[in-house]
């Protein structure tokens, strides 16, 4: 047994300094297509976006991250249209809504936030990234965030997946079982818009309209740091940055 202790000590600290210091290690984020470049004479159809996430607004390319599934078809070499930034992961944004208890979680759970993860039919990539945040590289426990199996003890409902018909009831029950104040965080494109599965007979078009979403973390899947960013937003420990939040029209709730 002592061998394990030594091994653990020898490994040293691997944990990211984020959020105190920006994390710049290669590979922490796949990046995402960046809008804002001049569209020229291109029409949205020319981008061949399979999920219609790219639109042209005021002669500039605009990307709806709630729909983007990171298929990379708009990127070089195949797409050769949009430039992709190297890093960046502070993708989460807040959705202002008339919550039951607005700002309650920010006040009461600032230092300690318990998370109930619900899988609403996710493909596992999002869930895998969610489980990464508890592992040594990201270790959310140092920030006072904990994943709990009991919704009774949870302050935040983390949802991944497009919310299938079969998961609607369990999800609703889990949300209702949580004591207030509570917030819902939708992780991944599927949870925000249904993603590639789209709204259909068996899979919902995301959680919005079914549960009140407070924090959105787009991405397919969002890297662990983006999820941590979302958690920090939920706990009120990071101010929403207006420049990283997508503009109006990109958000599902604004449409």
């Amino acid at each position: 047994m002592s061998g394990w202790v030594l091994k653990g000590l020898k490994t040293g600290i691997r944990t990211t300094p984020y959020p105190k210091v920006e994390e710049h290690a290669p590979g922490v984020s796949p990046g995402r297509p960046e809008g804002g470049v001049p569209a020229g004479d291109k029409k949205p159809a020319d981008f061949a976006c399979p999920v219609d996430a790219i639109t042209v607004r005021d002669d500039r390319v605009s990307v709806d991250y709630n729909k983007c599934i990171h298929c990379a078809r708009c990127l070089p070499p195949a797409g050769a249209i949009l430039v992709k930034p190297a890093g960046g992961y502070e993708w989460a944004y807040k959705i202002q809504r008339d919550a039951v208890d607005p700002g309650g979680v920010e006040k009461t759970c600032r230092r300690s936030l318990h998370i109930r993860v619900v899988d609403g039919g996710a493909c596992n990539a999002c869930l895998s990234e969610v489980s990464q945040i508890t592992k040594p590289y990201y270790d959310i426990h140092r920030l006072g965030f904990f994943i709990t199996p009991a919704p009774r003890a949870a302050d935040l409902l983390l949802l991944a997946g497009p919310v299938t018909e079969h998961m609607k009831l369990p999800l609703k029950k889990a949300f209702e079982a949580m004591p207030g104040p509570k917030v819902v965080m939708a992780v991944g494109t599927c949870a925000l818009s249904g993603g590639i599965f789209g709204p259909g007979f068996a899979s919902g078009g995301g959680v919005a309209g079914f549960l009140p979403v407070d924090i959105a973390v787009p991405g397919c899947p969002p890297p662990p740091l983006a999820i941590i960013h979302g958690l920090l937003l939920a706990a009120g420990r990071k101010d929403p940055d207006p420049t990283t939040s997508p503009g109006p029209g990109c958000r599902r709730d604004a449409q």
Binding site: A150, P170, L171, A174, G180
Partner: protein, 714 residues
């Protein structure tokens, strides 16, 4: 002041009236009339016992004189009075309870005969207790045994019950015969059968005979208490008996066995060495452990309580054993404490076990089932029954401040006093017995958490348990009375112990009360005999609190040992009770304050997001106790058969049937080998029956020759 003899006459009259009325009035009115007469009888006997217990009125009466056998008489010393009082205390609520309970048998079984048997049983129990000589004692014992059989077999149409009743009768008779032999050995050449002359004669009895008498009477009486290895009848009989009779069996007849053992092995013929005490101690602690193991894993509530009776009998007997050892080694005070602990536990057991039996009968009455796997959620429909049952369960689980805690704590403390004994093996026995009793106490908590939780909490696992209704007030009041007593006996031990001490003093010849429950500790004020340091120690424990308010003794039970280490143990359930009340109150107040500021939302229990949580997805009683079953599988030694049915092909299973059979450990290790040995022996003997006349003639001749030869020698 009423005369005891008058009260006894009144009691017999009331019993007789009950019997006469039972015959005279229409059957459908029988239960209520029966309840009245029985309750009046109980009240009378309660007063008689109380007078015997609290006053020093000696009571002796001669019944008749038989020339060859001496005087047959009755009498009540303090020991008798205690048991008589306890009998009244149990019979009273059971009689009240039975009025409505017996109506379930109306039309199916004769309520008239029940009434007659019940009154006769009550009378025989009292006569047994006040008998002052061997003959009337044995006569009453036999009558009581047969009446018990008749009452256990009340639902005689069920064949299973008859078998259980017969087993009980056979084992009871075996015990009776053993006791008769014991008494025969006890009577000296003078032939006096009354207890006084037996006591006088006891001094002249030699070592081997002493041992023989001890073994015969201990196990003979022990059969009624269900101690191992003579307990196989008990769970079966208790299961067969109607609920109220099971309460009587456990609350009264079990005490009779304890009475017999104390009367003969501590009073008339006290042991001279540690041997008998050690045997009693080991038997007691083993009975306790085996009893609670089976109780924990049993799912039929009444049978679970029966196994628990074995456990509690074990604790009582273990206390007696410790007392006998201390008495034999000239530690009268410690012996007194041990006997007090034992008697205290017996009293407590009578109360909470009767309460629990009444509770389980009430549940059976309203749900039709005693199988805890099929119960659940009853607290919503039977809040009173549930609360009373909870008090009984907490008491029997020995949680402070309830009465079971006091007596089990005293018993365990007694075990620890083996430090003052000399012999190492005896010390080790005490230590092991103490460990066994401690384990028993732990398992008892498991057992009764299960009993309460599986019956009253959670979801109803059967339709009947979801449609139950509260019991009528008469039944509830009977249970409430007992629950109240459980609390009173729990929080006022300092007032109970001196009373018990009065009954024990004649046996151990020294009072333990002063050593066990000293009066308030203050410097001066009649406490000069204690050293200053000792008294000041007790100031810290708060032993002087309430000195000016309380009329009697302090509220702390403590044992004063030697000079160097004055306080050996101390405890106060009274203070615990007060602190618990304060904490409970504070919690309620805090909850009120917290809740007032917030909205309270009621949500169903979290079920993992299932569409619906059906009741078959909740824990069962068997599941709850399964860890115990697994850990102690060497004791239970189950045989498991598994059957799988398939449809169409191998992997399409349609049903899996698993069956578990257990044979009680004493039956497996002792009864079955003995029976099979007897079978082989009788089979061998049967071989000499050749059927030929010549052979038999030869047997006759050989016998004659042997007899003639024998005649020459003697």
């Amino acid at each position: 002041m009423m005369e005891i003899s008058l009260l006894l006459e009144l009691f017999l009259l009331s019993c007789a009236a009950g019997i006469v009325l039972a015959i005279a009035i229409p059957e459908r009115n029988a239960p209520s009339i029966f309840a009245w007469t029985a309750s009046i009888s109980s009240a009378i006997i309660l007063i008689a016992g109380g007078i015997g217990l609290f006053t020093d009125q000696p009571f002796q009466a001669e019944l008749w004189r038989i020339s060859s056998l001496g005087t047959m008489g009755i009498g009540m010393d303090r020991l008798c009075s205690l048991f008589v009082f306890m009998a009244g205390l149990v019979f009273l609520p059971v009689s009240v309870f039975s009025a409505r309970y017996m109506q379930r048998y109306s039309g199916r079984y004769s309520l008239r005969s029940f009434s007659i048997f019940y009154h006769l049983l009550f009378a025989s129990v009292v006569l047994l207790l006040i008998a002052a000589d061997a003959l009337s004692f044995l006569l009453a014992w036999e009558v009581m045994s047969i009446l018990c059989y008749l009452l256990i077999n009340y639902e005689h149409e069920k064949q299973e019950n008859t078998r259980s009743g017969l087993l009980m009768l056979v084992m009871g008779e075996a015990g009776f015969l053993a006791v008769v032999f014991g008494f025969l050995l006890l009577t000296g050449p003078s032939g006096g059968l009354d207890f006084t002359s037996l006591r006088l004669n006891a001094g002249s009895i030699g070592g081997v005979t002493r041992w023989l008498i001890f073994l015969l009477t201990f196990f003979g009486f022990g059969i009624k208490a269900g101690i191992i290895p003579v307990n196989t009848w008990l769970p079966k009989a208790y299961k067969a008996a109607p609920g109220n009779i099971a309460a009587i069996l456990s609350g009264v007849t079990l005490n009779l066995a304890v009475y017999g053992i104390i009367r003969i092995n501590a009073d008339i013929l006290p042991a001279l060495d540690v041997g008998p005490g050690i045997v009693v101690l080991i038997t007691g602690s083993l009975s306790a452990l085996i009893g609670i193991l089976y109780a924990t894993t049993e799912d039929d509530m009444q049978q679970m309580l029966a196994h628990s009776s074995i456990e509690n009998a074990g604790i009582i007997i273990a206390g007696l054993g410790a007392g006998m050892v201390f008495a034999a080694t000239q530690h009268p005070v410690l012996a007194g404490i041990a006997f007090i602990a034992s008697l205290y536990h017996m009293i407590n057991h009578s109360m909470f076990k009767t309460l629990l039996f009444l509770g389980s009968s009430g549940i059976e009455l309203k749900t039709g089932s005693r199988d805890m796997n099929g119960l659940g959620g009853l607290i919503r429909f039977m809040p009173w029954t549930g609360s009373f049952f909870l008090i009984g369960a907490l008491s029997i689980a020995a949680l402070p401040p309830f009465n079971g805690f006091v007596s089990e704590w005293l018993t365990l403390q007694t075990m620890l006093q083996s430090a003052s004994l000399q012999s190492i093996p005896v010390k080790i026995t005490f230590a092991l017995s103490g460990a066994a009793l401690a384990l028993t106490a732990g398992l008892a908590v498991t057992c009764f958490v299960k009993a309460f939780a599986m019956s009253f909490l959670g979801m109803g696992r059967s339709k009947a348990s979801r449609r139950a209704v509260e019991l009528p007030w008469s039944m509830r009041s009977a249970m409430g009375f007992l629950a109240f007593l459980c609390i009173v006996f729990g929080i006022f031990p300092t007032y109970i112990i001196p009373v018990l001490d009065r009954t024990v003093t004649p046996i151990v010849h020294e009072s333990a009360a002063d050593a066990l429950v000293p009066p308030f500790f203050t410097v001066g004020r009649g406490n000069e005999k204690f050293s200053r340091a000792f008294v000041s120690d007790f100031h810290d424990l708060g032993a002087q609190v309430g000195r000016d308010v309380l009329p009697g003794r302090g509220l702390v039970v403590l044992h004063r040992g030697g000079k160097r280490n004055p306080v050996v143990f101390a405890m106060s359930t009274s203070y615990t009770f007060i602190v618990l009340l304060l904490l409970l109150g504070a919690t309620l107040v805090m909850l009120r304050i917290v809740v007032r500021r917030r909205k309270v939302r009621y949500q169903p229990a979290w079920d993992g997001g299932l569409r619906r949580l059906p009741s078959h997805m909740t824990y069962t009683a068997t599941g709850f106790s399964n860890p115990v079953r697994v850990i102690f599988s060497a004791v239970f030694h189950p045989t498991v058969t598994k059957e799988t049915k398939e449809a169409v092909a191998e992997h399409f299973r349609t049903a899996i049937t698993k069956e578990r059979r257990e044979v009680h450990i004493t039956e497996r290790l002792i009864l079955q080998p003995v029976v099979s040995m007897l079978r082989t022996v009788s089979g061998r003997i049967a071989k000499i029956h050749s059927g030929s006349v010549n052979t038999y003639a030869m047997y006759v001749i050989i016998t004659l020759i042997l007899l003639l030869m024998g005649g020459q020698f003697f």
